[in-house]
């Protein structure tokens, strides 16, 4: 009985801490202003929306990842997949949940776009440094 209770509570807190951890990753990059180049490439005009995530991830695959961003992108990727699954299933029954998942997925897209921006800048720097030699 005790083990079942601890298991249930731990699962709930695991999910809660995971959501908060991903939100803290996204919050840490929320002050970053996207460059005009990334806006052009991704088609993001003002603020990123949920649909932009897939496009940005595809662009990120073309660009060698910065080692600093790898773990964060993986965690946010898992978060996006969970949100996507929720959106396709139970969120259809609850409009408020649907709005929330949409908002969160837009946050994931924003995080990925910032990572893409950093990635482009990083590769440009690397190329410039190699050009010096």
């Amino acid at each position: 009985m005790m083990a079942a209770l601890i298991f249930a509570v731990s699962l709930v807190t695991l999910l809660m801490f995971f959501v908060s951890y991903c939100r803290s990753l996204m919050a840490a990059s929320s002050r970053h202003t996207l460059s005009a180049e990334v806006r052009d490439v991704t088609g993001i005009k003002d603020l990123p929306c949920a649909r932009d995530y897939v496009k940005v991830r595809q662009l990120l695959q073309l660009c060698p990842e910065r080692p600093d961003d790898r773990a964060g992108l993986r965690a946010v990727g898992i978060y996006y997949d969970i949100l996507d699954m929720t959106q396709r299933s139970i969120a259809r029954l609850f409009p408020q949940l649907s709005d929330w998942t949409e908002h969160e997925r837009a946050g994931c897209a924003g995080f990925a776009a910032v990572a893409l921006d950093r990635c482009i800048a990083f590769n440009r720097e690397t190329l410039a440094r190699e050009g010096e030699y």
């Binding site: 083990a3 079942a4 601890i6 298991f7 509570v9 731990s10 699962l11 807190t13 695991l14 809660m16 801490f17 995971f18 959501v19 908060s20 951890y21 939100r23 803290s24 990753l25 996204m26 919050a27 840490a28 929320s30 002050r31 600093d68 773990a71 964060g72 929330w100």
Partner: protein, 231 residues
């Protein structure tokens, strides 16, 4: 002897633990996060000792199980110490930080004394299911303490990125461990937990290393962005 996958996980975990200590020294944060560094140094020493016992006595021996769970209980208590360090950082600017620290130390000593009494009375049972129960309860207490700290962080509007992410990673770690041990206690799922537990053990040093490496001590975030439901 453990299989190749278990060995890879073991080496990865040890590398991440060492990585955290090296990163802390490189980023000049070793003293600032002293308890976390001490915890990983002890974990590393304990891993080497466990490996030594494993090689000499075998994975299914009583000696190995006893060493594993006894060192695990001690390491969890050291991690409580690290958690108290995080509490004092969060409450540092408040007037009652002294009381918070005193209560945390009392709680730590109480848990240590209770665990010692329980283990001393049940030494012969430490190689049975009882060991899983003890671990499950110790991790659950850690989970509750981390949850309270997280609540305080949200309430006080903490903005330090490093501190926030370190506490959240710790919450994930305690939750995953408590859930894994509870799963074992619910049914005999040794094989599943035997895989999950070491993997989760690798994730905590990895997450903390990324945090220390990626963000400076001055990095700040907007507290409102941390709340899942915007108010």
């Amino acid at each position: 002897m453990p299989g190749p996958l278990a060995s890879v996980i073991w080496y990865l975990g040890a590398a991440f633990e060492l990585g955290f200590v090296v990163c802390s020294i490189y980023r000049k944060s070793f003293v600032r996060y002293l308890f976390l560094n001490v915890y990983f140094l002890l974990t590393l020493s304990s891993s080497v000792f466990r490996h030594f016992v494993l090689v000499h006595s075998g994975v299914s021996s009583d000696e190995y199980r006893y060493t594993y769970f006894y060192s695990d209980a001690i390491l969890t208590l050291v991690l409580y110490g690290a958690l108290i360090g995080l509490y004092s950082k969060v409450f540092a600017e408040l007037r009652f930080s002294r009381y918070v620290r005193a209560s945390a130390v009392l709680l730590l000593l109480g848990t240590a004394a209770f665990s010692y009494a329980v283990v001393a009375q049940s030494q012969e049972r430490l190689s049975t299911d009882f060991a899983y129960e003890l671990s499950q309860n110790l991790y659950f207490v850690g989970l509750v303490l981390t949850y309270v700290l997280w609540g305080a962080i949200l309430k006080l509007g903490e903005t330090r990125t490093r501190l926030v992410q370190i506490v959240l990673s710790l919450g994930l770690y305690f939750s995953a461990y408590a859930a894994s041990y509870a799963l074992i206690n619910l049914g005999s799922m040794d094989s599943v937990a035997g895989f999950i537990v070491p993997v989760v053990g690798c994730l905590l040093p990895l997450a903390w290393t990324v945090t220390i490496w990626r963000y400076s001590e001055d990095a700040r975030l907007v507290p409102a962005h941390l709340v899942a439901v915007q108010r």
